[in-house]
């Protein structure tokens, strides 16, 4: 919403400075977004008089002028054709910045003659495009500031333009008068009365207006008057200046009048060219399919139920949104119907949205104009039309009634103080509301008709607080509900996410936050379907909610590869979506590693990452978030994993804590990732809740007797899982075997096709007496037997 200071002063009698007004506006909730004060850039220009002007000795088109200025008589060289003795001019002294030529004036020599300043044209001061010569003022004293002269003689030129942001609850502030009312309530002046002398009716118009029964809820009131014999044409200068100042293009007087009242009083109007209207006006609902060429020169097809104004030939106006081109005013218009109606905000909002029209009228009606002011709106407009464009006015035509919006809410002044936390005296509270147009009867406050937003006691609190100024609010401590050391507040899930993040970073992975969106093809690769599709995606790259975190991470890895970073380790903690119902999301911790463990380096530690890196990552993260150490590793995960190179980390066949493995080469190819790539996914919420125990640890058992380690190598079929062998060995003598580790694997070679050798170290920890050779041998035999039984393998000779 834009307006000018002088426009505001039409409604507000005030001594306040521009800065005071700006501060108050923002503080009141009418946030100032910008101010353009032409006076600022003209403040250094002063008025002078040319005493003498003679031709420059060395240039035909230049004149050497002697000018009386605020700094005494100065010699100024001027090239303007109208520079001559006796004229009153505007001077830029040396040091003055001239905006139109983006230059700061300096003393200089022009063709050998000194010049001490400049006489300016309108364009040079950005007042207009006029540049045929320098300004000749009809009045003005030497030394007077040019801005002061403008303020007195041509105020529109120095009228500051203020732009404020209007929150959706304040339709009343979409008119300059409403803004003035807020400022007056704040104490920045007094409201000037708003009155209009209605133009007496001088004839009886024939046009009749009816509102269809089923449309009264959307258009309870429609008013108008006919004016005949008007002379349309350009608006008077003051009106053109006003509209231009706020960024509107003056069109013709009859159109400008409607725009003026839209911004002046938040009263959108429409003016029909009556000579183009056939028969009477009827407000009704569209049956659907009717078309209308609107003022924006586009044709709209109406949907059933949308409100229109029709004449006998059909729809002529999109009610409350935009008039029709057919019956719009032109330069030739002489007879008009001036419309002022009240349209239901919700119906206007839906129609405007459906037709995708953003007009000033829709903007205002859907926020809510003052219904009670509807009839006066006609009188204001008709008065202005007749005064300026002549003609005579008909009787007042009205269909429907002013809707009753009267309501009152209790002002609980103590509750206001309690909610705001500021000592606002009860009297001041009442005064604020009254200044805003509320009427108080005891503690009941009746809401003015122009404030549709006020719908309860809480709204009264807001009005009082706003006028009192929230800037003055002082913080008041809010102690914790319990004294003493704060208790921990994180849930298990929240703790797990934090610890997983920091563990993953400690493992050398970089945390990413990738979009929750993914493209359809990538979603499909990872088991997603259209059940998590967006209706209105911002691009086809972001059309679905991600079914897994992995595709986004792989795309991120591909982008890094494209930038030349080939060794990538990324992870993310976040939600993945299985559908589009609230709650169809799960937390995942996912990571990928691609390339080598690091750049090649002198110690030779760099190597290609593989499945076992991903497994180590997954195991470290699971350990960090408190997963049990004893898990099963099963195969059979989803198709985006390499079928032979992945494992599901499970507690039983249905309880999956995580997956690790190599990604399927086809998936990598589709995502433009140069593979191979390994990765993992962990479902932190699948990890069982820790059993509630005290912080106390179990006692440490550290036997004094020395442990014994023995190595075994078995030849087994190549597809035997190492874990099966390890578990078999560990189960051979439970009390004695403390640990079994695989320390070597050898495949094929001398063992023959389809065979491999697995070497294990078994650590025996006696608890009562040192082991004898015989006992150790016995355990060894048991281990061999168990392993043979479990794997079919034999001890390697």
């Amino acid at each position: 919403m834009k307006f000018t200071l002088s426009w505001l002063r039409d409604h507000l009698e005030t001594e306040a400075t521009l800065d005071e007004i700006l501060y108050a506006l923002t503080d009141l909730g009418l946030e100032v977004e910008g101010v353009e004060n032409p006076g600022d850039r003209l403040k250094d220009f002063t008025i002078g008089k040319v005493r003498a002007a003679e031709k420059h000795p060395d240039a035909d088109k230049l004149k050497v002028c002697m000018v009386e200025t605020s700094q005494g008589e100065k010699q100024i060289i001027c090239g303007a054709p109208n520079a001559r003795e006796g004229i009153t001019v505007v001077i830029a002294h040396p040091g003055t910045y001239v905006p139109g030529i983006d230059t700061t004036i300096q003393v200089g020599k022009i063709r050998g003659v000194e010049s001490h300043g400049m006489m300016c044209s309108e364009r040079e001061m950005e007042l207009s495009d006029e540049h045929d010569g320098i300004i000749e003022l009809p009045s003005g004293e030497v030394g007077e500031r040019f801005v002061d002269w403008l303020a007195a003689n041509d105020p529109a030129k120095v009228d500051p333009v203020i732009e404020i942001a209007i929150t959706p609850n304040r339709p009343d502030a979409l008119g300059v008068r409403g803004i003035a009312r807020d400022l007056a309530a704040r104490g920045l002046g007094t409201m000037k009365p708003l009155s209009v002398e209605p133009v007496p009716a001088s004839f009886e118009a024939e046009t009749k207006v009816t509102i269809a029964e089923d449309t009264l809820d959307g258009c309870p009131l429609f008013c108008g008057r006919v004016v005949r014999g008007v002379k349309n044409g350009p608006s008077p200068q003051w009106l053109q200046d006003r509209l231009r100042a706020i960024g509107l293009r003056p069109i013709s007087f009859l159109v400008d009048v409607t725009n003026f009242f839209t911004y002046d009083l938040n009263r959108p109007l429409h003016v029909f060219d009556l000579d183009k209207v056939k028969g009477d006006l009827r407000i009704h609902r569209a049956e659907g399919g009717e078309t209308l060429l609107a003022l924006d020169e586009r044709t709209y097809t109406l949907q059933p139920g949308q409100m229109v104004i029709s004449d006998s030939e059909g729809p002529e106006s999109l009610a409350g949104i935009m008039g029709g081109e057919e019956t719009g005013c032109t330069e030739e218009t002489v007879n008009v119907f001036v419309e002022s109606a009240y349209w239901d905000p919700i119906q206007i909002a839906y129609t405007g949205r459906a037709l995708k029209i953003n007009s000033d009228a829709r903007y205002r009606f859907e926020r809510g104009v003052d219904p009670a002011f509807t009839p006066q709106g006609v009188e204001h407009a008709v008065r202005m039309i007749v005064d300026i464009a002549g003609g005579e006015a008909s009787q007042f035509i009205q269909a429907g009634e002013v809707p009753d919006t009267s309501r009152a809410y209790r002002l609980d002044t103590d509750r206001v103080v309690s909610l705001v936390g500021m000592e606002i005296p009860a009297e001041e509270q009442r005064h604020s509301l009254e200044a805003l147009g509320f009427t108080l009867d005891g503690d009941m406050a009746s809401v003015p008709s122009w404030r549709p937003d006020v719908q309860g006691e809480a709204d009264l609190v807001e009005e009082v607080a706003r006028i009192a100024s929230l800037t003055k609010l002082e913080g008041r401590p809010m102690p914790r509900t319990e004294t003493g050391v704060p208790k921990p507040i994180l849930t298990t899930g929240q703790k797990r996410q934090q610890i997983a993040r920091r563990t993953a970073a400690a493992l050398g992975l970089n945390e990413c936050v990738t979009y929750s969106f993914i493209d359809a093809a990538s979603a499909e690769l990872f088991g997603g379907d259209d059940s998590a599709r967006l209706e209105n995606p911002i691009s086809s790259e972001m059309s679905h909610m991600r079914p897994q975190i992995l595709p986004g991470l792989l795309q991120a890895a591909a982008r890094n590869q494209a930038r030349g970073f080939l060794d990538v380790g990324l992870f993310e903690v976040g939600a993945a979506f299985s559908g589009s119902e609230p709650g169809e999301q799960e937390t995942q911790i996912a990571g990928v590693r691609i390339g080598r463990t690091g750049p090649k380096e002198v110690h030779g530690t760099s190597r290609a990452v593989d499945l076992y890196d991903a497994k180590a990552d997954a195991e470290a993260l699971l350990a960090a978030i408190g997963a049990p150490a004893k898990v099963q590793i099963l195969r059979g995960a989803e198709g985006w994993w390499h079928p032979g190179r992945h494992g599901r980390i499970c507690l039983g066949p249905k309880k999956v804590l995580g997956v690790f493995g190599e990604l399927h080469p086809k998936v990598l190819e589709a995502l433009d990732v140069k593979g191979p790539a390994v990765g993992f996914v962990i479902w932190p919420d699948a990890v069982p809740e820790p059993r509630k125990t005290s912080a106390t640890r179990g006692a440490l058992t550290a036997p004094d007797l020395q442990a014994v380690e023995r190595d075994f190598a078995f030849v087994v079929d190549a597809d035997v899982d190492a874990l099966t062998l390890v578990n078999a060995a560990a189960g051979a003598e439970k009390g004695l075997i403390e640990d079994v580790r695989v320390f070597d694997q050898f495949v094929g070679g001398s063992l023959g096709e389809g065979k491999k050798s697995l070497a294990i170290t078994v650590r025996l920890q006696p608890s009562t007496a040192t082991l004898t050779d015989k006992e150790i041998e016995a355990v060894g035999a048991k281990i061999v037997e168990k392993v043979q039984k479990a794997t079919g393998g034999t001890l390697r000779g």
């Binding site: 923002t26 609850n169 800037t471 970089n510 979009y515 909610m545």
Partner: protein, 357 residues
């Protein structure tokens, strides 16, 4: 006897290795060594002579023994020094690489927020990112026709054919978590709810996904003045400054009444933000007293309870605090960016240590 002493001390000093020393030991104080033989002669002496020569011979033996030990140690040291000198390595070669990962600034800032608000008695609430339009709008006093709905650039989830329920939305703010929390836990309560939110907007300063933190405090007599204090304390703690001035500006949000936008005093001198000084104001959040209709929607009696709520952009305050220029880069996962703006694994923000120490 002095000859013996001079002879052996001299030979020991000149010995070049341990073997030579051993030979000297045998030669001097071994069973048949010169000193031992001389001691055997003591028996043949007169008591007076013996009384004089005995101690001297013993002293000589001790002296030679010490000299041998000392020389042996000296030879050992010399050998070690020689070996160490030969074991020279180029210490300017790099150490074995240890992988260094990073924490994303969003996560770091979320932990900072949690640390600060936990100290003021707030816990952390969560809610789904796909929301029903009731939780995202209606319950927050934003009915279907409200202009705020159109202004929010909402993402809608597609409905299956024949499913005529109103479409679910991607939550446009973290405010629906207020409702879910009130429904589940009632009053009194104090929570923050950080998380992802979505709006259909993409340009220099907007991304279709970003992060917000919601705050909610409900009790019998919580006021807007309490809200201001909480936010002042938060801003001081978060930006790690001793003092800061907050400006509350009246505004409007459908779910709070009264509503205020909150600015902090700052300066942008030289392009860097300094919080708490200067003449500029920086808008950082929207807030207000929870609207009675919102309390009702959450199942809380607005005649008995009142409180405040606020919502703040996490990405934005992360950019402000850490001088990160471009929002879009947050979600691009450029390794250079992650390493530059990320945080080390052990850099856990706590109040006692300092958030960004």
């Amino acid at each position: 006897m002095d000859d013996l002493r001079q002879k052996y001390l001299g030979l020991i000093a000149e010995a070049s290795d341990e073997a030579a020393l051993e030979a000297l030991r045998v030669q001097a104080i071994g069973k048949k060594g010169e000193v031992s033989l001389a001691m055997r002669e003591l028996g043949k002496m007169s008591p007076e002579e013996r009384k004089e020569a005995g101690p001297r011979l013993n002293a000589l033996k001790d002296e030679i023994t010490s000299a041998l030990t000392a020389k042996k140690a000296a030879l050992g040291d010399a050998a070690l020094e020689e070996r160490l000198a030969a074991e020279w390595l180029d210490v300017t070669l790099p150490g074995r690489p240890r992988a260094q990962g990073t924490i994303h600034p969003i996560s770091q800032v979320m932990e900072e927020l949690t640390a600060i608000f936990a100290d003021m008695g707030f816990s952390v609430a969560e809610g789904p990112q796909v929301e029903s339009d009731w939780y995202n709008f209606d319950a927050l006093n934003i009915p279907g026709h409200h202009p705020a709905r159109a202004e929010m650039d909402t993402f809608y989830m597609a409905r299956a054919e024949g499913d005529n329920r109103p479409p679910h939305v991607l939550r446009t703010h973290t405010s629906p978590v207020q409702i879910r929390h009130m429904e589940a836990y009632g009053a009194p309560c104090r929570v923050i709810a950080p998380g992802r939110v979505y709006r259909a907007d993409y340009d220099q300063t907007h991304t279709p996904m970003f992060h917000q933190v919601e705050g909610l405090a409900i009790d019998r007599d919580i006021s807007m003045a309490n809200l201001k204090w909480v936010l002042e304390e938060f801003v001081k703690a978060y930006f790690e400054v001793d003092d800061v001035e907050l400006r509350f500006r009246a505004s409007h949000f459908p779910f709070t009444e009264p509503s205020a936008e909150v600015d902090i005093r700052c300066s942008w001198e030289g392009g860097t933000l300094k919080v708490g000084e200067g003449d500029d104001w920086l808008e950082i959040l929207g807030s207000g007293m929870v609207h009675p209709k919102v309390l009702q929607a959450g199942g809380i009696d607005p005649d008995k309870w009142q409180g405040f709520a606020f919502g703040m952009g996490i990405d934005r305050i992360a950019m402000l605090k850490y001088g990160i220029p471009d929002l879009r880069a947050f979600f691009d996962s450029d390794l250079r960016w992650l390493r530059h703006y990320g945080f080390s694994a052990l850099d856990v923000p706590t109040l006692h240590r300092g958030l960004s120490a």
